[in-house]
Amino acid sequence: MNYRRFAQLKSWRAAVILAAALPLAIAGWVSGAAASPGATARPSTPGVLTPPTQGMTPQSSIGKGEGQLNLIAWEGYVQPEWVKPFEQQTKCTVKATYAGSSSEMVSLMANGGGGQYDLVSASGDADLRLIYGGDVKPVNIKLIPSWKQLRPFLQSPAFNTINGVHYGISLQFGPNDLLYSTKVFPKPPTSWSVIYSKKYAGRITIPNNPIQIADAALYLSVHEPKLGITDPYELTQPQFNAAVALLKQQKPLVKAYWDLASSEISLFANGEAVVGAAWPYQTGQLQAEGAKVADTIPSEGATGWADSWLLATKAPHPNCAYMWMKYIDTPEVQAEQAVSYGETPDNSLACPLMNKLAKGSCDSLHANEPDAYFKTIKFWKTPLAQCDNGKDNCVPFQDWVTAWTQITG
């Protein structure tokens, strides 16, 4: 029989229509049957959120390892250098899933990790979303001896400890510092105003990330004090609008907004950009290539990121997870990771070990600075509608994202 006759068959057409309608029907049934997601934080009093897993009692001892550990991590955080010794010691085979952004981590960890993942190395802008989403559960700090060696301001920071309950342990941190070409700036710039200045139009680069609005807010907190910005992540609508206006003013001066660290490295290596916001990682890479660049934290201070390993609510291998948390915060491993990635270790005893691995790394990564130095860094945290002062009029992160799309267009 020929195709045309076949195509005219009513039964064929009916079969195709049914097959196409079936997925629609299934999708409609799914949307109807599925209620709103379960463990969502509900404010018990206006302005006060309670993490859904706060009441869960953490384990009191570390049992026998389960033989496997599933991690969600940033690239570069699970290197064989320190993973192999861990696997040999604990017999927990490490399987890492790499995420490219905080939002990716939050969505992978949905539903408490889904019974698939044990730990996530989330940055401060994702931590609160995970905690209030009920995706991570309390951790027993007494089971992690190296916690006592962490710098005091990182032992119970606001992004992974709520109401005195720890949901993970702090890992490493780094500033969003000012990267500049030493040819254009023989002396280090003292103010962030260089990235907002017409003098360097077309030669500036900043990250393509909505959290950059906080950087603009930090700048305004010093240069326009009448706005009254105290916390760059808790902005009322007028403060937020001022930060957005500053970024819109900056837009024609920016050569490119970088998405990947390697893109920024290219921009500086080719001389396209001479000043911009970066991480110490880019400075290290560029200097290793012989580029004439350096970085600094200007007088207004800087925003920064601090990563923590958080424990998934439905972690399938909790004992291996605790063993990893114990291991990753010891001075030796902290030094290895800091030098390998280009960040600052949280463990205060890591500095001399870093210099053994890479001479001068302790200085260039600022691992031996006093706590006062780090007070100038405002670490990332998720902007919420609930401000710390109890009011509900701060701008939530969703609006930051929308505003960023409008700024960059």
Partner: protein
């Protein structure tokens, strides 16, 4: 076994159905169904704090498509796609004509290799190669400076993106046009000459109309691939004023984790392509295919 084969011999429709059902099932279940699920996702919303999908139908995402700068981004994407298509057609038609009708066998084979070889190299490698060419103090800058023409400095602009797109999609335009031109019988040219047409008239009235189906087939590639591409704007765009539909969708899936909005935005190129194909069909471009 004999009864089965006899039953199949008698019922031709059953034979056809059994042969068609695996590919049809793949097409419906994996291809169409996934598109339908994405369409349904566009009607959902996401809880901005916990990032969980709210399975309630709403039209907010489609309304958000009209908020600045999305319409400008859509307009920019369509414009760049159209310019890339026209540029590639202008480059491809003479090139394919040469390959199909003028070149000797050896030269034609060499040209085939030249056109197809870049496709064997990784997409990323080719984009990075263009970044090296277009960047400050790159190949282009060096050449123009030595010619005394100054420094064009076009990296990270819409022009740079357009150039890279033209380069990457060119093989997809050359091959269908080559196929269309190769099929023209020699007798057509003789007949045209016999009727008194000069070369330019033959070109206009005989060659180009016959090449048109090839150009349309190639344009479907260049247009739709540009509508959806996100890697090139990410690498060679500046992140502002150069955003295309593709990388805005990418940003909304990764950074903003707003899957429903990304799904709604992804429907826009689908609708545009449906319109494009219907237009092409109405113009008779599919008659000869």
């Amino acid at each position: 076994m004999a009864r089965v084969s006899a039953a199949l011999w008698r019922r031709a429709w059953l034979r056809a159905a059994l042969t068609l059902s695996p590919p049809l099932a793949w097409f419906l279940v994996i291809y169409l169904a996934s598109l339908v699920v994405m369409l349904v996702t566009a009607f959902w919303t996401v809880n901005p704090f916990t990032n969980n999908l709210q399975h309630q139908l709403s039209l907010t995402n489609f309304a958000a498509l009209f908020d600045a700068p999305i319409p400008a981004i859509i307009g920019r994407t369509v414009l760049i796609a159209a310019l890339v298509t026209v540029t590639d057609a202008v480059i491809a038609v003479p090139f394919a004509y040469f390959m199909a009708r003028v070149a000797t066998r050896r030269v034609r084979n060499a040209l085939f290799v030249a056109v197809l070889l870049p496709l064997w190299a990784s997409y990323l490698a080719r984009v990075y190669a263009w970044i090296v060419i277009l960047t400050k103090d790159g190949t282009l800058d060096w050449t123009t400076q030595h010619l005394g023409l100054g420094s064009p400095n076009i990296a990270y602009t819409n022009l740079a993106m357009g150039i890279v797109f033209c380069y990457i999609w060119l093989p997809f335009m050359i091959l269908p046009v080559y196929g269309a031109l190769e099929r023209i019988p020699d007798s057509y040219f003789e007949a045209s000459a016999d009727l008194g047409a000069r070369n330019s008239r033959t070109l206009r009235s005989v060659v180009l109309p016959l090449a048109l189906p090839g150009v349309v087939a190639g344009s479907i590639f260049t247009f739709s691939l540009t509508l959806g591409d996100y890697i090139t704007p990410l690498l060679i765009g500046s992140g502002s004023g150069t955003n295309l539909i593709g990388n805005v969708i990418y940003d909304n899936i990764g950074l903003a984790n707003n899957l429903p909005f990304a799904a709604a935005l992804a429907i826009v190129p689908i609708v545009i392509m449906i319109g494009y194909l219907l237009g092409a069909r109405a113009l008779g471009a599919f008659e000869a295919m």
